[in-house]
């Protein structure tokens, strides 16, 4: 294997690195003195081109490879996940074309690209070391993205909180990984699996599993590692919040599933009702149950739409964890469908929240009063996003839940989790309807039409259309 070969395999990532350098260069050297809006438009469009080129490469020159025992992989499934990640990044970039919240445009867009590179490597590895490195690349970029809006000191506080929690969870993860390494004398998933097969529940392994769960639980914002989510969702600039809530979830869930099922398959135990067996599934089942219950109940009380979305994200993380608890091939495809459609919906929801904020200056529920008369198109899209999150057919969110529940119920003994999840989603309708009630039922405080740039509107409509499309024709995504 030569370096050219390696570069060729990692060409999509390389394209993104080159793009980020170009974006920085263009923004800092050529557009230094232009208006912020122009700079944002130019930088986002350049970055979009880069992502599009990477997608093009993934679609037209797909490869199969497994370098150095899983350090770098490439196969159709991974390529699909990478394409999904790139598409989500493109949506995030397109939605930031009209932003004005910072002067550091080049840096902002570059960080989004870096995070994307981190995620691309993250999903393409079966090795602890690369996993940790790419997770850190992703996380560090996200911390900075959260802190980007420096107009309000509270935002810096949220970013700091995110960073401290994140650093701690990374430490936990690294500790767990080092135990795995000490135990298996290797960093690849496959070799760890062999070592665990020989001695499934060695006390060392139990500790390693617990600390790993803490680390991943933080990434996906599951109870009780969720404390950062509401603050970050509230403080981050809208495109960054959308990014954190969407693509980083896709990547984290995918690698979480892969790690648990490949490396720890023999330590899975059982989460069947009244037949719990020691292993990571009962622990994860409890985390999932707690996330579904707490996320849904706390979301009811929120008056800030961003915080509401954050708690609902915790609940959704609970649903998605069920797929990992079930850990069947069927549940992997259900998980991917769920997390992808959820990500599309969340980006759309955050885009609308951003648009409303720009006009009214707040994300309080009351800023949505009478939105249907101030911005009919946006509220129609909000209608689609909220109902999809609540799981109303024929929108993508419903099919995601349906596939997930089928996968969970097909696994013997897990009906209790599915019942909990379905009950949770019945509760969730209440708070999603609260937002829609503001938009459609309550009279507007101010009749002036909401001014949203046409391009942003177009992107939001595209997102809503994709939510409907994947709902009506789910087999476009399910393979």
């Amino acid at each position: 294997m030569t370096y050219t070969h390696l570069l060729h395999l990692a060409l999509p990532e390389v394209i993104l690195v080159i793009t980020s350098v170009i974006v920085l260069g263009v923004d800092l050297l050529i557009l230094r003195n232009s208006a912020t809006k122009t700079r944002f438009t130019a930088a986002s469009l350049l970055a979009t081109l880069g992502c599009a080129a990477a997608i093009f490469h993934l679609v037209y020159a797909p490869q199969r490879a497994n370098l150095l025992n899983g350090v770098f992989l490439s196969d159709p499934l991974i390529n699909t996940v990478q394409i999904i990640l790139l598409v989500l990044s493109i949506f995030t970039l397109l939605l930031s074309t009209d932003s004005t919240f910072t002067d550091h445009v080049g840096e902002f867009v570059t960080l989004i690209l870096f995070a994307t590179i981190g995620m691309m490597f993250l999903v393409a590895t079966e090795d602890l070391l690369v996993l940790f490195l790419s997770l850190e690349l992703l996380s560090l970029s996200l911390y900075i993205l959260t802190a980007f809006d420096k107009r309000n000191p509270r935002f810096a506080e949220a970013a700091l909180k995110y960073f401290l929690f994140g650093a701690m969870s990374a430490a936990f993860l690294l500790f767990g990984f080092s135990l795995f390494y000490g135990f298996a004398n290797a960093t690849s998933f496959a070799q760890i699996a062999t070592a665990i097969h020989a001695a499934p529940l060695n006390p060392l392994i139990v500790i390693a599993i617990v600390t790993t769960l803490v680390g991943f639980g933080f990434k996906v914002a599951a109870v009780p590692f969720h404390f950062w989510a509401p603050d970050v969702y509230q403080a981050a600039p809208a495109p960054a919040a959308a990014f954190i809530a969407s693509s980083s979830k896709v990547a984290s869930f995918f690698i979480f599933f892969e790690f648990m099922t490949i490396a720890l398959n023999d330590a899975s135990g059982g989460a069947a009702w009244r037949h719990f067996a020691t292993g990571w599934t009962p622990a994860l089942a409890l985390i999932a149950a707690a996330s579904m219950i707490l996320g849904n109940l706390l979301a009811i009380r929120q008056t800030s739409v961003r915080r509401l979305l954050a708690y609902s994200a915790i609940a959704h993380a609970g649903y998605m964890l069920l797929a990992i608890v079930a850990h069947t091939p069927q549940s992997l495809s259900a998980l991917l469908y769920y997390v992808t459609t959820y990500a599309l919906t969340t980006i759309g929801a955050f885009a609308i929240v951003g648009a409303v904020e720009q006009q009214t200056g707040s994300d309080h529920l009351s800023s949505f009063n009478g939105l249907s008369r101030r911005a009919p198109l946006l509220s129609a899209c909000l209608f689609v996003f909220m109902l999809s999150l609540a799981g109303i057919p024929p929108l993508a969110g419903f099919f995601g839940k349906f596939f997930l529940f089928v996968a969970v119920i097909s696994t013997p003994g897990l009906v209790w989790l599915a019942i909990l999840a379905i009950a949770g989603s019945a509760v969730s309708l209440y708070y999603y309807l609260q937002i829609l009630k503001r938009a459609f039922v309550t009279n507007p405080d101010d009749d002036a039409p909401l001014k949203t740039p046409p391009f942003t509107q177009l992107v939001i409509v595209l997102l809503a259309a994709s939510v409907i499309l994947f709902g009506c024709a789910p087999n476009l995504l399910i393979r």
């Binding site: 129609a380 057919p393 419903f398 089928v406 009906v415 209440y430 309807l433 459609f440």
Partner: protein, 514 residues
């Protein structure tokens, strides 16, 4: 062709949203045309398929990886209910002719609701059925929350949450059935032959049955119904009581009882004299009948009287289902049809003809207004609808309740006595409401004088606007339908009986536990 009932409604809803603003007349007309088109298609199918046997409308794979199909079909029962939907849809639009506030959105939500109701009645893939069943929730919420009255946001949310909880239970049951059958299909006809284990059926049946019965107003899960009906605008209450509650009853029969017939078999032990889910639900249905009627008897709000009467009448349907004999089941389906028409008519009279003119629904306030003189058409309509609702011979309600009574007499002789009580109270509350609202002129003069002395404003009866043409047309349509069915129930029975004899209901008919 029948599938176009769904598509036309959805397309028209979409078109309505694209109409230019402030074009209420065009919106009304478009909605009416769509409803008439749906009705015409339903009627054509109703006339063409006189055998009542199952025929497929569309069947294409939808999500092949899970064996889910886009399967629309109809048998006699579906046809009757589709026709009912068509009639009530037209009447509802006629009675909403005076909606001026956000007209096009109103009719868009309305047609979305209608389209999904058609969809539920025509789906023979359980997944598809569930999809349509859930879509119904959303327009219901907004119709009530935006255009409703009295505590509308509370009523709307309560209704949405009750429906959603019900459908969550149904969803659990359906997925469990899908997984347990192991035959990788959601087709109703195939799952009905799947022979689930008796143990599984005993658990799944009550889950799915209650899930659907919540929407059918089964006591004690009925509390959403009166508040929802009262809060809803006229057309929405008509649809809610007229067809949406029927969705629940239809789901009980079509899904719960068809898939899990053994769920009705005896448990093998008795608690409080109840030995099976069948006994439990029959008793709950009868409690609903008597309770609904008794509560209707003491209401002060005219619309609450009708709201609780719906609970009572829906009890008849659920009881008819639990008789498990042909006459009781046919009676239940005719009662679905009949109550759909009559509840529509009653809500139209109270909500549109009376409330929109007098702006009060307080029975004691309506009395002094001499409504039988001021709006005689409303009084006549209410008298006719009331008589039909009491179950007077010649109207559809009579046929339906008689058949259910006979069926119940065969199945539960002692309980059937309680139904007699329910019917009796039914006569009294209609009589009371009628007398108080329309014919209370003499006895209340003192009250009037007293109120005037206290400075209460009594609306002068001359000021009430006359009954408009759309209202007359709507009322005549509903009354004519009720009388037709009452005089010639064979129209429906010819379709219903063969459907009940189809292989789909083998499980219920076999009834080895009887």
């Amino acid at each position: 062709m029948l599938a176009w009932t769904i598509y036309i409604s959805f397309l028209a809803a979409l078109l309505l949203l694209l109409l230019p603003k402030n074009n209420a007349a065009a919106a009304r007309l478009l909605a009416l045309l769509a409803a008439i088109a749906g009705f015409a298609i339903a009627l054509t199918a109703f006339i063409h398929h006189r055998t009542g046997e199952l025929f497929t409308v569309t069947r294409i794979p939808w999500i092949p990886s899970l064996g889910i199909e886009y399967h629309l079909a109809a048998d006699g029962i579906s046809l009757c209910l589709v026709l009912l939907t068509g009639i009530v849809a037209i009447a509802g639009i006629l009675f909403s002719w005076n909606i001026e506030h956000r007209t096009k959105e109103f009719f868009a939500f309305y047609l979305l609701l209608i389209g999904s109701v058609y969809g539920v009645f025509l789906s023979y893939d359980l997944f598809l059925l569930f999809v349509f069943y859930e879509i119904v929730i959303i327009p219901k919420y907004f119709l009530i929350a935006i255009w409703g009255s009295t505590r509308k946001e509370y009523g709307a949310m309560k209704l949405a949450l009750y429906s959603f909880v019900g459908s969550a239970m149904v969803l659990i049951g359906l997925i469990a059935a899908y997984v347990a059958s192991g035959i990788h299909t959601m087709s109703l006809t195939e799952l009905a032959q799947a022979h689930f284990s008796p143990h599984f059926q005993l658990i799944a049946f009550p889950l799915v049955f209650i899930g659907f019965a919540i929407l059918a107003g089964l006591w004690p899960f009925h509390t959403w119904a009166p508040t929802g009906h009262v809060a809803a605008p006229t057309a929405a209450s008509m649809l809610l009581a007229g067809v949406v509650m029927k969705l629940g009853a239809y789901g009980c029969l079509r899904v719960a009882m068809t898939l899990f017939p053994l769920g009705l078999s005896p448990w093998g032990f008795h608690i409080l004299g109840l030995g099976s889910w069948r006994d439990v639900f029959a008793v709950l249905a009868i409690i609903g009948i008597v309770y609904g009627a008794s509560v209707a008897l003491v209401q002060k709000d005219f619309k609450f009287v009708i709201g609780y009467s719906s609970v009572s009448h829906m009890g008849f349907i659920l009881l008819g289902l639990m008789t498990l004999n042909q006459i009781g089941l046919s009676g239940a389906i005719i009662q679905m049809f009949s109550h759909g028409i009559l509840a529509g008519l009653l809500f139209a009279t109270v909500g549109r003809m009376v409330y929109d003119r007098t702006h009060t629904r307080d029975l004691s306030a309506l009395g002094p207004m001499n409504l039988n003189k001021a709006i005689p058409f409303a009084a006549i309509t209410f008298v006719i609808a009331g008589m039909a609702s009491m179950g007077l011979p010649g109207f559809s309600g009579f046929v339906a309740e008689l058949m259910i009574l006979i069926g119940a007499w065969r199945a539960f002789p002692i309980l059937a006595l309680c139904i007699g009580l329910g019917i009796l109270i039914g006569i009294i509350y209609v009589w009371r409401a009628m007398q108080k609202a329309f014919f209370a002129d003499s006895g209340h003069t003192e009250v009037v004088a007293h109120r005037e002395a206290n400075g209460h404003h009594i609306p002068s009866t001359e000021a009430l606007p006359p009954i408009t043409l759309p209202e007359r047309l709507g009322a005549i349509l509903l009354i004519a339908t009720s009388i037709t069915i009452g005089l010639y129930p064979q129209i429906l029975l010819k379709l219903i009986v063969p459907a009940l004899n189809s292989p789909l209901f083998d499980g219920i008919r076999r009834g080895s536990w009887q």
